[in-house]
Symmetry: C2
Subunit: 445 residues, 2 copies
């Protein structure tokens, strides 16, 4: 049988458990704070869209090693009986502060901070990074497509080439949050309540004796939802075949919704097809396009006056092809009340428990962020992180996905175009508060 | 709760179901054959490692829509009651021919072909591509790392930045098949029986008052498995601190296994550290390295005479960073006994049910592949694809992962170095049999 694990406590790097064993053995149980952040932008990026926090909260709330997990750990021979007994009783009892899903944030801002006894906070590292990394990466990519499409609807078509099953689902949700209209992924539709879209592939056309027969067959089955793929043999002939079927449909009182292009020079072909459709009085028939699209291709098509009403975006969205990973890390920033020592690597980690304060202009546009200390107050600025879990208990239920999507839409419209440019965007100003700066000097060396 | 679906029938593009509905409605139930293949190599690649077929067979064997799935489809309003009833009874009853997992294959060779009534064969498209794409891509990337490491052990460290949970598991298994020694992923160890590795992170060191205290603490907990991360503050001082602890361990009759480097110029630092360890009589202490490694970095380190005994390879393996997707497709090649029409896109799909025939020299090295027709025989050549499922029933149980890994090792040693070069490899010769060529001409236009 296909193995889809129902419990994820063991979905972790072994070193989380060996460190925990040594903390246990050496009686280090003091509270620690770990901070999740992205060190730097991938090329040509200047913002991120926060997604994945809700899954993290669920994972923390339900954290509990199963008997089966403990039996496996036991038979590795690595761990003592005392430590395994400790793991058996281990639950997450800490606090979590996080940027809400859908909101826009910037490099080196904490996405999420976990404060808990060190073993609890440490042991979550791998799953916390894994969960937020993918979703934030894909939402950030999707936001670029949304920006490029300039109001035209986008549909996620990536499922077949996402990195596995879980990615397929998370890409559908993340891209919907970041402005997509829906997905081809039926299970994502079921699980998340996202609109689903889909019509036919080339294989459908090939299975009939000719294209017009295939079109007729589909229109018979879906008289109210007919969208015809017209490029299987020859796009222009396909457009005329679609017109034939559209006329037959019209005689039955039905309307052809649209045609889809999935190969070739989409900008050029869409103009040709638009002209042919319009000449036949089919001005209302929409043109849908897919085929290796991303934010750059969409921009080219729109610049070239391509007559495309909606886009299907697949593989390059689903794997975030030009930036398939982010430099996201989960670092200890405080232990037993002390800001953590500076490391040698040259990479900066901001010590202490933090908050992000955002300044918004009278016009509603974002002006500047200050990364400060959790609990401080800065005039005229709104804090971005919220306390979302306390003593291991969620403080709020999951927000509906449409509410999260609305947060994104609000934030995205408040982010000036110069930060959203697809190439060489400006960097949004982020500075440290005086209190946070002072805290960095307090670190013991 | 975190939602990990236990049934994957709905993890599909909606168009698979709308096409199926129209096939049903128009009474197209004839057998079809679909072929899964990779159209072209990513840059600097010249072979692939087949992984994922076993998961596909499990998915096909257990395929059955649940009542819950059908209720969801019903409430979309897209499908007729008759079609939903048909889906309720639908099982996979077809045949599957596949290249066994672990074997090496080339572009445009069928990895897997499914022959079944067209609805059954069509409806599997999305999940078949999704399942094999990731695993074959990652195994192919892992094989490059294995080649670069030239006998040195490699461990998969990618879990935190793989694209989700399922990818984390599949990357561990795929990289193990392609020559890795193990993984940091504990759940992969449990599910697949893969060796697991792991020691400590920088946060462990930071949690103690100084580095040597942290080292001592770890050695106390794991006297037989102590591997110390020495670059938290200063790698050279870290090496001397490791020596201090190694001497304390020696007095207790214990041995320090190794040290790990995770930042900086690994080639240079490893030589320095090796010298320091050797001067202290610790010739047996191994040096382990990680930090943004891939096949190119590993090659540089080895060329630079870096003294590294084993490598941890993370993100760039787990997301196949330089080639995060493959041009993998699942195309109809035969319908109702006829080879399928040629399409207009200029992209070649080889019609007909196929086999791959491999010629091996007297020295055991691979010489040439011929893609032929399923059922034909070609002198002195061994067929690569096997009939693995008949009438919806698996013909063999899953092979143990170590047997699959051995297949890879055998094939990899039979592939000449010129095809394995990391940059500009030669292309392995693949041609079509006369019978297959004739079949392409028989396609009806």
């Amino acid at each position: 049988m296909i193995q889809l694990p129902q419990r994820l406590e063991l979905l972790t790097d072994l070193y989380e458990l060996t460190m925990a064993a040594s903390y246990f053995d050496n009686e280090l149980f003091s509270p620690a704070t770990f901070s999740l952040f992205i060190r730097k932008y991938p090329q040509d990026r200047a913002y991120f869209v926060a997604v994945g926090q809700e899954d993290v909260l669920d994972l923390l709330a339900q954290f509990q090693f199963s008997e089966d997990d403990l039996a496996f750990l036991d038979q590795t021979g690595i761990f003592s009986d005392e430590f395994l007994q400790f793991l058996k009783d281990l639950r997450f009892t800490g606090n979590v502060r996080a940027i809400p899903e859908g909101r826009i944030f910037f490099a080196n801002e904490p996405i999420l901070e976990i404060s808990a006894p060190i073993i609890e906070a440490q042991i979550m590292e791998t799953i916390v990074i894994n969960t937020i990394h993918l979703q934030t990466m894909v939402a950030s990519k999707a936001a670029r497509c949304f920006h490029a499409a300039d109001g035209r609807p986008l549909v996620d078509f990536s499922l077949r080439r996402t990195h596995g099953i879980d990615a397929g689902l998370k890409v559908a949700r993340s891209s919907y949050i970041a402005g997509f209209t829906g997905t081809s992924n039926v299970l994502a539709g079921k699980l998340y309540g996202i609109p689903i879209f889909g019509t036919m592939a080339h294989s459908f056309i090939s299975s009939f004796s000719d294209e017009v027969e295939a079109f007729r067959a589909f229109a018979r089955t879906f008289p109210k939802k007919t969208l015809l793929l017209i490029d299987t043999y020859d796009t222009i002939k396909g457009a005329y075949n679609a017109i034939t079927v559209a006329r037959e449909m019209a005689q039955r009182g039905e309307n052809l919704l649209g045609v889809r292009l999935d190969s070739g020079d989409l900008s050029h072909l869409s103009k040709e097809v638009r002209k042919i459709l319009d000449e036949s009085g089919l001005e209302d028939v929409q043109i849908f396009a897919s085929s290796g699209l991303d934010e750059f291709e969409i921009t080219e098509i729109i610049k070239g006056n391509g007559m495309i009403d909606a886009f299907g975006v697949g593989t390059k969205l689903g794997v975030s092809a030009d930036a398939p990973y982010l430099d996201i890390v989960y670092k200890i920033v405080q232990y037993n009340g002390r800001p953590v020592k500076k490391l040698s690597s040259g990479k900066v980690t901001l010590a202490g428990e933090k908050q992000v304060f955002r300044k918004t202009g009278d016009d509603g546009m974002f002006i500047e962020d200050i990364v400060g200390v959790w609990g401080e107050e800065i005039n005229d600025r709104k804090p971005l992180l919220k306390l979302v879990m306390q003593g291991g208990k969620r403080l709020e239920k999951r927000a509906p996905v449409d509410a999260i999507r609305q947060r994104f839409l609000n934030d995205f419209s408040a982010l000036a175009p110069r930060y959203k440019r697809l190439k060489s965007p400006d960097l949004f100003p982020v500075r440290l508060s005086d209190r946070l700066q002072a805290l960095q000097k307090d670190r013991f060396e």
